[in-house]
């Protein structure tokens, strides 16, 4: 099926395709629940291993990551899980392996990590950032960890090659947490930013206890690290430009990162969530340097000047004003933070007004992502929670070690409703959840979720309700821009609504997401006309009319600008 363009001719290929129709994955769960835990029926049996030990190393509490990716180009989202590792006194009876679950298309997955050559890494694993850094059409994997990280190039034949040393992105000696691919210099090649957490060593365990029971020392017992920025040279190698970018001076306990253009100057900026260090909002100056404006933007600290325990972060337009807003997950009693953006780059802290404070008071949050789970056109929010202190329940009655994830429905104005009752059993069950990724693994337009759990099995949650409203899917392919179109801004217009979405780099915590964008079109009959404006990372602006809904639209970046395309 081919869509018609409002502006012809285009030197682009625009193909709409539908992978699955509703019900194609054989849904059996009660429609009363929004998400169904399908981990078992999907055949996902992998376990995370943290290396928990009597030494109580902080790293044992922090992993692991997860990423949605279509590694074999079959149109189905596969899932990659990053395992932790052994610690000096926390040994695994079996080798610690990552998992790459290939989506078989029938609701089942098969672990092909060993065959693909990504099951073993020689370090303690943390997170994953997926992107096609060499624009060859196949997504590659950057795996973060301690005391190094690794880049696996996708060979396009179902296997990967570890190219870390040649690429120069080992990030040696550092405890890397999240990472984001983004094209900061807009040369069409994805660069890499890595959040490094703290100065850490297995040789120096820090001792802490609650009532003589050994427990994990607080993060403030560890000194922070600067961020790493690697510039993609386009020949398979990268250059560490952290110092040139000014990142060497940004020392702190960085965990989460999202890349998005906050000031609409077409240069991707960075929001860095940091743990007991002030958050950073790094404005891309366009000359290879970044300027932190978090303090003036009022996102660095809480109102009392206290740096919260920032873990995960995501960006999206929550209140429909066209400006990116941010969510940052924090520790219990601090509340997860919600900041509304404005053209003046002074953010409005809506944590209390949105009810996010109320719903997150007792939780330690990690992965988080905006998700329009019901395709009503409003970005909702899903958050992975889980405490780090196993004896916390002996210290207070209102906080648990295992905590349920949160699914919060947005009324369109940034006011949340806790969907715990309707969301499904997984949202009423305590987990030690960490990583969180979103993606439409069954291609039905309902965005699904995968969570990782410390020392446990992951949870794959299938969306049962997204299909009940109309939606439109975008799968962008850059030509001049990076092939993944990371940094693209999509504005969708229909009826009297205008919705803005971005293809961000990074986001959540240790995790990577389906890069396709789904825009919910709301209740009622399908809109008569759905138009979109795509601003590609290169600056090219492309307008498309009469897009068809309830399917994915593969859109390539125009090679030449058409008369209808305007650049700023």
């Amino acid at each position: 099926m081919t869509l018609r363009f409002s502006n012809r001719p285009f030197h682009v290929c625009l193909v709409a395709f539908t992978f699955f129709t509703h019900g194609g994955t054989g849904k059996t769960a009660s429609q009363a629940e929004i998400f169904t835990d399908v981990t078992e029926q999907a055949g996902i049996t992998w376990h995370h291993f943290s290396g928990e030990s009597p030494d109580r190393f902080l790293i044992e509490t922090m992993g692991g990551g997860v990423g949605f990716l279509d590694f074999d180009g079959d149109g189905l989202q596969d899932i990659f899980f990053v395992n932790g590792g052994e610690t000096p006194r926390g040994k695994s009876p079996t080798p610690v392996r990552n998992a790459l679950y290939r989506n078989l298309g029938n609701g089942k997955f098969e672990d092909v990590a060993a065959k693909a050559g990504v099951d073993r890494i020689g370090f303690y694993g943390m997170g994953v950032a997926v992107a096609d850094y060499d624009n060859d059409g196949f997504p590659d994997l950057f795996i973060t960890g301690f005391p190094e990280s690794a880049l696996f190039h996708n060979n396009g034949n179902g296997t990967f090659t570890n190219v870390t040393d040649r690429a120069g992105v080992k990030n040696a000696g550092k405890w890397a947490a999240s990472a984001a691919w983004f094209d900061y210099d807009r040369d069409g090649l994805l660069d890499l930013v890595v959040t490094n957490y703290v100065q850490f060593s297995f040789d120096n365990p820090k001792k802490c206890a609650v009532n003589d029971v050994p427990t994990y020392c607080e993060q403030e017992a560890y000194l922070g690290m600067p961020l790493s920025l690697y510039h993609n040279n386009g020949n398979g190698t990268f250059t560490d430009v952290s110092r040139q970018a000014g990142f060497d001076k940004l020392v702190g306990r960085a965990l989460g990162v999202v890349a998005i253009d906050v000031n609409d100057d077409r240069l991707p900026d960075l929001f860095i969530a940091r743990d007991a260090s002030p958050n950073l909002l790094l404005i891309n100056k366009g000359n290879g340097r970044f300027e932190d404006i978090a303090l003036d933007a009022e996102v660095a600290y809480d109102a009392g000047g206290l740096a919260k325990a920032g873990m995960g972060v995501d960006a999206g337009d929550l209140n429909g004003d066209g400006f990116p807003d941010f969510v940052v997950t924090n520790f219990n009693d601090q509340y997860h933070s919600l900041f509304f953006g404005s053209p003046a780059l002074r953010y409005d802290d809506r944590t209390v007004a949105s009810h996010l404070a109320e719903y997150s008071k007792s939780f330690v949050g990690w992965g988080a992502h905006f998700i329009d789970y019901d395709n009503d056109g409003n970005l909702d929010l899903v958050i992975a929670n889980g405490h780090i202190n196993q004896v916390v329940e002996t210290t207070r009655s209102d906080v648990k070690y295992k905590e349920p994830p949160l699914l919060l429905r947005n009324n369109g104005k940034g006011i949340f409703q806790n969907m715990r009752e309707q969301a499904g059993p997984a949202f009423n069950t305590g987990y030690s959840a960490r990583g969180l990724a979103i993606g439409d693994f069954d291609n039905d337009g309902g965005i699904d979720i995968v969570l990782t759990c410390l020392n446990g099995k992951p949870i794959l949650l299938r969306n049962n309700v997204g299909q009940s409203n109309s939606w439109i899917g975008f799968q962008l392919q850059g030509t001049k821009s990076n092939r993944d179109a990371v940094g693209a801004k999509i504005t969708v217009s229909f009826s009297d609504r205008k919705l803005v979405r971005w293809i961000t780099g990074g986001s959540s915590y240790l995790s990577s997401h389906d890069k396709r964008v789904i825009v919910g079109l709301g209740e009622g009959p399908q809109p008569a006309a759905v138009n979109a404006e795509i601003r590609w990372p290169s600056g090219t602006v492309q307008r498309i009319s009469n897009l068809r809904s309830n399917q994915y639209n593969r859109i390539s970046e125009p090679i030449k600008h058409s008369p209808a395309v305007h650049n700023k």
Partner: protein, 530 residues
Amino acid sequence: MRLHFNSCKVAILIATLLPLFVSNVGHGSDQRRDAEIHADKGLRLAQAGNLPEAEIELRIAVQVVPDDAGFLSNLGTILAMERKLEDSTGVFERALRVDPKDVTTRRYLAANLWQLHRYPEAKRNLEIILNQAPNDKESRLLLGMVSENMKDYPTAIRMLGSVPAQVRERPESIAALARSYYHLGQRKNAQRSLEELLTHPSGARGILLGAQVADEMKDYDTAEKLITAITSQSTDQATVGYELALVQYHAKRFAESQRTLLSLISSGYKSSQAFNLLGWCYHEENQPADAARAMQEAIDLDPTQQSNYLDLEKILLASGSLPSALGAAKRASDRFPDSPLAFLMRGSIELKMSQFTDAVVSYTRALRLDPANPDASLGLAEAQSNAGLDKEAVAGFEAAIRKFPQDPRFRLQYALMLLKLAESGNLSAETRAERLLKSAVALTPPLPEVHYQLGDLAQKKNRTTEALAEFRHAAKLDPQSAKVHFALGRIYRRLGRNAEAAREMDFYQRLKESESKAAMPPSGTGASQN
């Protein structure tokens, strides 16, 4: 550290009362004769030092003839000598109702009232005497002492200065006069008074007292001079050495104080208090491990001294060793199970370590041991609030506000809890919190946090002028509060006053940096978390 116990009041009281034993008889009946027999016997027993038997005899005399001022006065005197000051005071007052003009009895009553810290009443009685007998030297001496206690230093100097012979008799009155001079800035006069102690018959005891006064008044050179003068003559080298080290410590000459103590200890004068002070010296010199060791030695030498345990806890807390501090607190509360202070301290450490459930238990125990203790009430309600026991905390705060209506801390902490509840959905809580904060403003001491919170509330409601005023007020009360300067920076920036905003933010950053340095636990000590 231990406080010095000032024994001067006892000495003066006894000296004042001893000449009282005068026969005051004159009744003619058989009953009176019987009473007189008992009274005489009582006086003889008293003079022989048998005060309990003397009291019995005098009580019989008073029972037989209840309105005899003399019997009453003598009974009051014996009771005073037995340190039964409340009883004695009541008896003196009865005597004065019978014979209001009895100067001697009134003087003894005043002495009792002084002993009981009922200074205004003592003063009133002494003024009555001096109206009748302006040259009553003992009363002038006493009024001088009372005035010094009442911080009426001009009167103290006037009264004590008018009876130099009486003042010179007792080191305590010399000390009171010197202290009054110090308070009025007459340092030279104070030093001259204290120098009299160098040749005073009381010897080393008097000189040490003088040194303590000079030390207390931060005249460390004089204090050291006095102590040095007795170093060779005193047989109590342990006390003299300790006092010298204490003065050096107060003078912030910590290394010197440490040397003095180590020399004392190496000479064999090992005492719990010397190790305690040594611990504080190490602490001041940023040697936390040595400080803790010295304090542990102090505990080992005198396990009955609770203050050593508490000091160890404070030192460990200050060095960021929360788990060790809690360990010490647990040992203290095990050793002193009836001490509210031990459980208060334990609760406060548990609160700091976010061990809220345990803190609830400790504070509950402290409150049971000392139901009138506001710190225990406050700690308990705070711990309950943090432990998620909201209902119990509300009840605790409400009860405590009724019990301690003048203590602004309860209103503040309760308001903070309500503001948290308001943030998580309880809308009426914010109104109540604001009312509590506003009511706390009128109370003393003024709490900067109250103004900060009022400013924060005003800012949230876009009442910018009010918010700015409150934040400024908070900054005035606590100029070193990072968060107040942060709030000021934010509000100035919103008002477009960028230079002031930048100044406040710069101040905030500097304060935060120093806070971080102070909070950074030494490597390997560990820091607890929840």
